[in-house]
């Protein structure tokens, strides 16, 4: 049996991230980035939003969202650079930058959510 490639794991993360991002990000962004700032819908007050964000379940949900969405980006972007720019010789560099960036972002998200007061 040939050496087990790790591609399936990365692809699984990419897929899960894609599904989660597709279902959840549009509504988040629409509200946060357009509806609330433009006053189409009245934004929730600081206290209630803060209370919502403090809940462990909310923080877990947000962490999973960030983690999966970042790995979705990493996998897709890695292949886009690989194919789109034909810079195959930088393959290892691209790999490290993409997944390394995703890991970094996940750590930042984890820290922010864990230390949320």
């Amino acid at each position: 049996m040939a050496k087990q490639s790790n591609e399936p794991v990365l692809w699984a993360l990419f897929s899960a991230g894609g599904v989660f991002a597709a279902f959840v990000i549009p509504v988040h962004l629409f509200l946060l980035g357009l509806a609330f700032p433009l006053g189409w819908i009245s934004a929730p007050g600081y206290e209630s939003l803060h209370a919502l964000a403090r809940l462990p379940l909310t923080r877990l949900y947000l962490f999973v969202l960030c983690f999966l969405a970042l790995f979705h980006w990493a996998h897709r972007f890695r292949y886009t650079l690989y194919d789109g720019l034909q810079i195959k010789h930088l393959n290892e560099v691209i790999f490290v930058c993409c997944y390394g960036g995703a890991i970094l972002g996940t750590i930042v998200a984890g820290y922010l959510l864990w230390s949320f007061r």
Binding site: A2, G17, G18, V19, A21, A22, F23, V24, I25, P26, V27, H28, L29, F30, L31, L32, G33, L34, F36, P37, L38, I41, S42, A43, P44, G45, Y46, S48, L49, H50, L52, A53, L62, L65, C66, A69, L70, H72, W73, R76, F77, Y79, T80, G84, L85, Q86, G105, V108, A109, L112, L113, S115, F116, R117
Partner: protein
């Protein structure tokens, strides 16, 4: 043959075959290729949303004044424009993702293949439901 294939299966000495190089701009040569690259670029906007989300969480954790500043920043026309573009790409990601879902999962029910439209429709319905649920949590007074 179970070893990894590292080379293309041509004999080495064929100087007279004409081989053209694929241009770096191959993705501009056909509309389906450009659509594909745009679809892949949407992942960058997915990541940029994560950044925005983390900024929101950070502002929230720093107190009401910091959050008010964050909300004010969101009203900056440039930021609004950026978020509009991001929203476009994120929705584009969702639409293309749902379109491809039936191909990726050949769902069979009682031996027969479930029609593609059914899978796509189910995804959109679920999308609507999830969006409403999330919105309900976020819009509460």
């Amino acid at each position: 043959m179970t070893e990894a294939r590292q080379t293309v299966g041509y004999t080495e000495y064929h100087p007279r075959w004409y081989r053209s190089r694929v241009s770096t701009w191959w993705w501009l040569t056909r509309w389906p290729y450009l659509k594909f690259i745009l679809r892949e670029i949407s992942s960058v906007f997915v990541a940029s949303f994560v950044v925005l989300l983390l900024l929101q969480i950070r502002a929230l954790s720093r107190g009401p004044e910091a959050y008010a500043r964050f909300q004010h920043w969101l009203q900056n026309p440039l930021v609004l424009l950026l978020n509009l573009v991001t929203l476009f790409f994120v929705v584009f990601h969702a639409i293309t993702w749902f379109k491809l879902a039936p191909s990726a999962m050949a769902v069979r029910f009682r031996g027969k293949r479930v029609p593609d439209l059914f899978i796509v429709g189910t995804n959109y319905a679920a999308w609507a439901v999830v969006s409403l649920v999330v919105a309900w949590f976020l819009v509460r007074p």
